[in-house]
Structures are given as C-alpha cells and as structure tokens.
C-alpha cells in the first residue's frame, strides 16, 4: 500500500508538485498519467525517498518515507524512468553491493543476484559492465534490484519507454503477476492507452496537480462513439440539423462530428439526404482514450 499525502515540491520558484494525494492499494494497479513535465517522475522520486518533499509525506506500508526511510525503502521497489548506475561496475557485483544495504551477506546476495538477473533476462550479462547496458537492459537490471527484498509495493516510471515488443510484453505480464500476488503497483505513463489493460484506476496529473482520478471502468464508459458524416455541401443549416441529435457537435474540414448521437446513424443520414445534402461518407468511431486524456487534461487548464 502506497499512500501519498499532500506532497508539494518546488524547484526554485517553480512549483513542480502542488498538494498531490492518492493511494495505491494492495492488489491494485494504478496508472499515473500526464503529459511531459506534469510531475510524474517528481512524485515518484518523492515516493521512493530519493527526493525530500517540501511538505506532505508518503507512507509505504505505514512507514513514512520522510521520517522512517530505512523501513519505507525496504518495502518498495523502483524502476526509474532512466536508470543510472555507477558505470564501471559489473551487473552481478553491483547487485551484490546494493543488496548489502538490505543486510544481505555476499554469498547470499550472489545467489539471489544470479536468480533475479536470470529472471529478468540478464542471465547472459552477469559480468558485463553496466555502462555497456542498453536502456532496456538497464530497466531490467533496475527491476532485478527492486525485487531484492521482494517488496509488496512497486513503482514503475515510464517503464515501457524504449523497450522492444518482447520487453513490453515482459513488463506487462509482470505487472499482471504482481497484481495477482496482491501487491500495489504504481505505473506511470504519458500514454493512457499504455495502461488501458493494466490499470484498475488512473490518476491524471497535470502541471503538478492531480486533475482527476478515475477507475478504468469509468474511463471506458466515458469513451462514447462519434458519428462522422462527410458532406459535399456542408453549411450551417446542416450543422443545425446535426445538433438536433447531440449536445456535442463539431465541424472539421468538410465533416460533421456528432458525439454520442441520440439515434441510429442511419436515421441522421436519412434526414440529411432528405434535406438535400450529398453524403459522401459516414463512419462511426469509438472515442479514443487519448481523447479522454486530452479532455481530462484540457478541463484542468
């Protein structure tokens, strides 16, 4: 369980986070979505205790990250957006070094390191220097390290970025597995689609503020269909006709977008044809998640 409680953070005069609060419960995957520079990474760095907040606190399984960091860090695993390690170290040695901070002896850490690095697909690179790792390999290494203490909470920052399809599938499966194991997973992304089939809930963040928290079901329910009708002789009368069938009508180029129409598309087309319009094309689209994303973010402006 990760509880983020009213954290704020400024860099100089720039307020990067403003009173951010939300929870990630056990057995829940929370998508953390927002555009570039929204404050996702900043929030996450505070959650894992590497950046002190100006105010507020984060509890990891009831351990305060600001007051009891030693315990809090024990119970949360973190895969950074861009993992950076000491470059001259080899993977297994560095793993053993980091495991030392969990009170693990060298031989125990070595065997755990072999097992976990194997598990994340780095079995062939145990003695490779970390500076020679690709971005995907670094993420896998960070994942192995985050699992040293087998914590109940995981935070993945844009973890799918820069991964090949195999890597993407690997992390997706892993998140699903963690969820099954009743762990809490916070998963940040700037693409809502990326978390669609993973997240139970989505926290939207923009300009350092949480703008909306929705369950995946709510998001899907709000994804309403659009009827797009392309007319040769589009004019304002045609738009007025369309408005009779929806509260939300938009015109773009020579097409009318009718959101969530009240009747069947065929009925609307029929009325337009009878009114003397030449219908060139009609199609019905499901509203994309990105539109919801833009809508939510747009509302916050």
């Amino acid at each position: 369980m990760i509880s983020i409680d009213k954290i704020s953070k400024s860099f100089g005069r720039f307020k990067a986070l403003d009173n951010v609060s939300f929870d990630v419960r056990n057995g829940e995957v929370v998508g953390f979505v927002g555009p570039n520079g929204a404050g996702k990474t900043t929030t996450i760095r505070i959650c894992v205790g590497v950046l002190p907040p100006d105010s507020g606190d984060v509890l990891i399984d009831d351990y305060s990250v600001t007051r009891d960091k030693r315990n809090a860090s024990r119970y949360v695993g973190w895969v950074p957006e861009i993992p950076i390690f000491e470059p001259d170290e080899s993977a297994l040695n560095y793993f053993v070094y980091l495991a030392g901070y969990y009170g693990m002896g060298t031989s125990e850490a070595r065997s755990l390191g072999r097992k976990l690095l194997e598990e994340v697909g780095l079995g062939d690179s145990l003695n490779k220097k970390l500076k020679n790792f690709s971005l995907g390999m670094k993420k896998r290494f960070a994942l192995a390290v985050s699992m040293i203490n087998n914590p109940d909470n995981f935070i993945f920052d844009e973890v799918l970025n820069g991964l090949d399809p195999l890597g993407v599938a690997f992390f997706r499966d892993l998140v699903k597995k963690f969820k099954k194991e009743n762990r809490a997973v916070l998963f940040s992304s700037h693409i809502l689609k990326e978390v669609e089939d993973l997240a139970d809930r989505v926290v939207f963040i923009n300009r350092g503020k949480v703008v909306k928290i929705m369950t995946m079901d709510e998001i899907k329910a709000s994804a309403k269909p659009v009827l797009v009708i392309k007319l040769r002789n589009l004019d304002s009368r045609a738009v007025d006709i369309a408005r009779g069938y929806s509260e939300n009508v938009r015109v773009e180029k020579d097409a009318i977008y009718i959101y969530n129409p009240k009747t069947e598309p065929a009925d609307i087309v029929e009325v337009l044809v009878r009114s003397g319009y030449k219908v060139e094309e009609t199609k019905k689209e499901e509203a994309s998640l990105e539109e919801i994303f833009f809508k939510v973010i747009g509302e916050s402006k």
């Binding site: 950046l51 973190w78 950076i84 901070y101 002896g105």
Partner: protein, 500 residues
C-alpha cells in the same frame, strides 16, 4: 550496510591510480630514505669499528693482541667479518659476532695499517695509527760478570675513531661511546684496557674511574664533584651511562690521582648527529613525497565515491536502498577514510620496519605513533575537505576547487607563508617566522603532520619549544576541521538534488 562499505572500500582502493600511488610511494619512501641515509652515513657512519692493537718484540719473539668491536649507532655489537691489511695485502681474516680479542702469531709479522670491515649493511675501512711506541733496552744479568742485552720494542695502535684514552699508572684505557637512546640520554661506553707494563690485556687489579659532566670542554674546575664511576675489571668492558642533557662533555679521571690525568670528550656532537638521524627518520624524502602527492589520490577517491556518481545521477539509485541520506553520506565518507587509514598504515609500517633495520636508528614506538597520527590527521582532514566539496558540487567544479586547494596547500604554502611574513614584516631567518609558519599550519590540513613532527623533535630535545603550539590546539584544530567540514558537507547534502 557494513558489507556495502567494505565493497566501497575495496573498489576504490583497487583503482589502478590508488594502488599505483601506494606502491610507488612505499617504494620511493624506501629508496629515497635509503639514499638520504647513504648520504648521511658518508658523514656520520652508522656502523663504527674501534680496535686496539699491541705488539711487543723481544729478540726473535713477537707477541701481538688485537681487541675491539664493531658497533651500530646505538652501541650494540654488529656481526661482521674483519680483514687485517698490511701494505695493501690481506694478512688475516676473522669473523666477529660481538667484541673480540685475537691473539695469533700471524697478525704479528707487520704492523697493521688498516682493518676492512664488512657487515650485512655496509663495508668500511678503519685505519690504525700508533699512539705509543717505545723501545726498552733491558739489561739482565745472565750469569756473574756477563751481561746480556735484550732489545724490547713495543707499540700500541688504535684503529678507528676512539673517543680518547687515559693512562692510569701502567694501564691504558681507550674509550668509545655511543648515544644509545637520545630521548632518555642513555649512552653506552666501551673501554678497551691494555696493561703497558706487561704489554698484555690482563688486568692485575680493577681500575675505578670517576666521571663528571661539564659544559666547557676539558674544564677541570668541577672535577672534585664526581657524578658517577665505572669499575674496569676486564680488558673490554661495557657501561650504560646517563648523560647530563644540560652539559656537553664527559670527563674521566682516576680515583686516586685525579688531577694528574683526565680524559674527556664532547658528546654534544654525537647528540647532534643522532638528531639529524631523527630528522631523517621523520622527514624522509619518501614520506614527504607521499604527503605531497598522495592528496591527488585523495581527491580522486572522493571523485569516484561521490562527485562522479552524484553528477551522473547514480547516487539516487543507491539512495533508494534502505538507508537515509546520512547513511549514504557517512558510508561513502567512511569508505574513503578507511582507504586513507589503510594507505597511511601501509606507508608507516614500511617506514617503521625499514628505518630501524637499515638506518640502525628509528623513532621509539611513541614517535612512530605520533608520526602516523600526523600523517593521518593531514590526509584525513584533506579527505574530509574534498568529500564535503565533492558531495555538494558537480564533478567538474569539484575537481577545479579541490585541485586549486591542493596546489595552494601542497605547493604554494611555503610561498604563501613567506608572503604573509613579508606583509607582517617578519624576517625569514627569525624565530618569529618559525612561530608564524607553525601557526599557519593550523590553516592547512596538509601541514598538520608538521605539528606532529614538531612534537616528536621536541621529545628528542631536537627543537626549541614554540609558544604558538600547544597540545590542546594540536588535537582540537584537526578535530574541528573534520567535524566542521563533515557537518557542513552534510548540511548541504541533506537537501541536494541527486538526479543528473
């Protein structure tokens, strides 16, 4: 946490630069100390031999005795092989483990010019000069009315540098004295005694000599106040004496007719020579090179442990482990400190073993301890300084600042001291200049070792007391530097952003 620190120590210690510096300075320390010693030993030998050779010819019958000893600086006998040389040809060789008395007809044929001495460490020659040669024409009745003339010729040679001799009746005593322990003013005196009436090394009765100390060489004014005595029973005798630190010379005279014969010699010269050996021991070029250049390794250690990983952002991933910022700050600080402790221990041990072994002189354990603490205080404080800068600035800036400080502290300091003295109108030759430079030592971590050196020299009486220094400050100032810099560094590190 502990295993992580050990790992940090290991990986930083095993950097090629650090290892190279360690090996280089240990080797340089040994080599340069050795060469400085060879240089010094050319003037003040560290192995000395002294021998007395008597030769008596009575008609065709010749008797010879050679006695003496080969000693190290402290007056302990040294194992050696000796070869007697006459007219550039070797006439006799023997080995000696302690002092020796040799009586052998084959050493009699010619006068001995020189003795070649070879020990494990050095080879040296001592030359022999006669101090007494006399001929007697003994007229002894052979039978009634017929006289037989027998010609007896005797000579006594002293080989090597003795500290003088004295005749008491029919005995000749040759002295050789060594400073055994400079700190406690212990001296070791050897006497070699010859019976001039029998021309042998047998003593008929014990001889008692009194001695007294004086400031003015060979003054006989205070001779009545004996300050001790030695009783000579054997041809070669060893005595341990306590010298008077406030006097310069020792004089020996006989119990009975003390005003007749006095032998005395100056020991302040010997003391000064010992002091130059002590200065060699604490200020050996190798040690100075280590102190001059190891700070580069110290700068590098903080660079790899904190400046670089902080700049690249690698520290953040480490900090995500179960530890506080203070733990991270402390653990890497300690890793660096341990490397410095180990390096200084290695160097000090090399010196502490090498110096007594080769120089035949070294500091007492306390002296080495103090010297080690001085080296440690200098390097650790410099480490704390570098670490504090490294953990709060970007790596490029860190290198710029620390190298500037290094150049100031290690290279320009004496110039800076002279400049300050010049501004204050203090002459460089004056004692107040010395006071000033010691006072300024408190401002330069790399000079802390000089304060330790001062206390070592002081304990050997090799420097005058300097009022600017006191032991409380000498301990408090380095401590304050370290505590202050460590805290200041952490105070900044607490809030610093560790991402790249």
């Amino acid at each position: 946490m502990r295993s992580a620190i050990i790992y940090d120590v290991k990986r930083s210690l095993l950097r090629p630069l650090v290892l190279l510096m360690l090996v280089l300075f240990a080797a340089l320390g040994v080599a340069t100390t050795y060469y400085a010693y060879i240089f010094l030993a050319g003037y003040y030998p560290n192995v000395e031999g002294v021998a007395v050779y008597i030769k008596t010819s009575e008609g065709n019958n010749t008797r010879c005795v050679l006695m003496g000893g080969i000693f190290d600086r402290r007056g302990d006998p040294v194992e050696s092989s000796l070869t007697l040389i006459t007219n550039s040809s070797r006439i006799y060789s023997f080995k000696s483990t302690s002092t020796f008395i040799v009586e052998d007809p084959s050493i009699c044929r010619h006068n001995i010019d020189m003795i070649e001495i070879s020990t494990n460490l050095v080879k040296l020659n001592i030359s022999c000069t006669t101090i007494s040669a006399f001929s007697l024409l003994l007229i002894a009745p052979r039978s009634a009315g017929i006289y037989n003339f027998t010609h007896i010729a005797s000579s006594i040679f002293v080989c090597g540098k003795s500290d003088g001799n004295i005749y008491i009746g029919s005995t000749l005593h040759v002295f050789k004295m060594f400073i055994n322990d400079l700190k406690s003013w212990k001296a070791r005196l050897y006497t070699f005694t010859v019976n001039t009436s029998s021309m042998s090394v047998e003593l008929t009765k014990p001889i008692v000599l009194n001695y007294t100390f004086s400031s003015i060489f060979f003054s006989s004014t205070q001779i009545n106040q004996s300050q001790g005595s030695i009783e000579i029973r054997h041809p070669i005798e060893k005595f341990d004496l306590s010298l008077d630190p406030n006097k310069d010379a020792i004089q020996f005279y006989s119990e009975v007719d003390h005003n007749l014969n006095v032998a005395g010699f100056d020991y302040s010269y010997k003391v000064n020579v010992e002091r130059s050996y002590i200065e060699l021991a604490i200020g050996s070029i190798g040690l100075n090179l280590f102190l001059e250049f190891f700070p580069i390794a110290v700068i590098y250690i903080s660079y790899t442990l904190v400046a670089k990983p902080r700049s690249t952002g690698a520290l953040e991933f480490v900090l995500a482990r179960p530890m506080t910022r203070f733990d991270l700050y402390l653990s890497r600080y300690l890793a660096g400190a341990i490397i410095i402790v180990i390096s200084s221990v290695i160097l000090s041990i090399v010196l502490a073993i090498f110096q007594p072994l080769v120089l035949r002189i070294g500091l007492d354990p306390w002296g080495y301890m103090l010297l080690y603490l001085g080296i440690l205080a200098s390097l650790l404080t410099f480490h704390t300084l570098c670490y504090a800068i490294a953990s709060t600035t970007r790596s490029g800036l860190y290198l710029a600042i620390s190298i500037t400080l290094y150049i100031l502290f290690a290279m320009l300091w004496s110039l800076a001291t002279i400049a300050i003295a010049f501004m204050l109108g203090i002459s460089i030759m004056s004692t107040s200049y010395q006071e000033l430079s010691y006072k300024l030592s408190y401002l330069n971590p790399l000079q802390f070792v000089n304060i330790a050196r001062y206390y070592i020299l002081l304990s050997y009486g090799a420097v005058n007391e300097i009022s600017a220094l006191n032991s409380v400050l000498a301990i408090a100032v380095p401590l304050l530097w370290n505590i202050g810099l460590f805290s200041l560094g952490f105070w900044r590190f607490r809030k610093i952003n560790l991402s790249s």
